[in-house]
Assembly symmetry: C2
């Protein structure tokens, strides 16, 4: 029996119980999951997704001095008093190595919560797309790609990344069924825009999220989020610890 | 100021009050809106969308003898005792001319209800795509394209039709803004599959709705729904009468 690959263009479109026994892949290209991939690739020990500013501060205070960093954004902008915003480049090895990062972002956190009933929860961006495909292929059962979207609206960049993962899973997996309509819609977007950096970059700049970043003076983040397979790490949300670390 | 074109890939994705002062275009390519277009093009006086079988029967009984027809489907199949199913070809001139059709289909009716707060509610399928573009261009204000989907799931054929209408509105309308992400996703699908009949036909056959029709022995309906601009009629839902008739 073939295993379905299913793209959910928004967390709200996941049917109840759909993720049970599935591998979920959470995608928030601009910028939460791109930043998480970057942070773990640069040596952060873990990222703890926090629902709010207060929770992030409270949890960080419980850590040994010098081991925790506060990170996140509200409406795209850094949070006053926090160590880091939500721009991938801020998460340099120098800044994050050996640290735990308490991170609060609106849409990314919501998508992780929506995915938590899955058997495994992987974290994907364009920057680690191929490595996520490798990891997901090793799992039996369905693969559900959960796009974070923005404030309940579908985003092009998440659809693109989900389409890329679905496309390569379909390509490599003899027994993967990508016939779901939303999955085909995303694959079609990837096939016309995805594999080429310039087209990906243009798509991200034209997306609502990209335009917002440019308006906020954060346009450089777009190129950092657009480059496919820059890293070979796969972050995984370990639900019981509520912490994202490198998958095994 | 430019007017937005916005694709809603499902009725549930319409934000509250979003349709106020807008022109809504309701799309259920397989098959409710294709059938409505066909019926009005063949001379039916009107189509009354009914929530259920009982309601359709009750309303039809209130008409003068010989003036009403019962039509619709459940799970794709004709309803026992009804005059017509939901296959466009059944709605020939001989069958429908001068008649009012009391029609119950699950997803199409739901989408019409979701759109009823708009200033005008047009009914579109691939078969009258260009004429809907002509009509919608004459309206001031936003244009919202409402895809019916199937049981809460996004469908390729509705996204394709919405993408085609959005693409041509953007092309012809100097002051139309199609930058919304879901709209761009749909336009991308249309640009890769839409204008060409063979590619459209293949896409509809491969969609979940198309596969269901083939499984039910209704595969011929697909070609009847796939042919663009076969008709130059624009059905409109007149909300106060709750009846679909030719626009103007």
């Amino acid at each position: 029996m073939s295993s379905p690959i299913q793209v959910h263009l928004l967390p709200a479109l996941i049917e109840p119980d759909a993720l049970r026994d599935a591998t979920a892949v959470v995608i928030d290209v601009l910028r939460a999951t791109s930043t998480i991939v970057h942070a773990l690739a640069q040596g952060a020990l873990g990222v703890i997704p926090c629902a709010g500013i207060d929770e992030a501060q409270r949890l960080a205070e419980q850590q040994l001095p010098g081991t925790a960093l506060l990170a996140g954004e509200r409406c795209g902008l850094p949070i006053p008093g926090f160590d880091l915003g939500n721009s991938p480049n801020e998460f340099s090895a120098q800044a994050v190595q050996g640290k735990k990062i308490f991170m609060t972002t609106t849409n990314g956190t919501r998508a992780l919560i929506a995915a938590k009933t899955a058997r495994r929860v992987l974290v994907a961006a364009l920057t680690n797309l191929s490595q996520v495909v490798v990891e997901a292929r090793q799992q039996a059962g369905p693969v559900h790609l959960v796009c974070a979207g923005t404030d309940g609206r579908i985003t092009l960049e998440d659809a693109l990344c989900a389409g890329g993962i679905a496309r390569w899973l379909q390509h490599f997996g003899d027994d993967m069924d990508a016939s779901d309509d939303a999955t085909q819609l995303a694959i079609n977007l990837y096939e016309t825009h995805g594999p080429d950096y310039d087209r990906t970059f243009d798509l991200l700049r034209a997306s609502r999220g990209g335009r917002n970043l440019i308006d906020c003076g954060l346009g450089d983040d777009i190129s950092n989020c657009a480059r496919q397979d820059r890293f070979d790490v796969v972050p995984e949300l370990f639900v019981e610890d509520w912490e994202i670390r490198l998958a095994k």
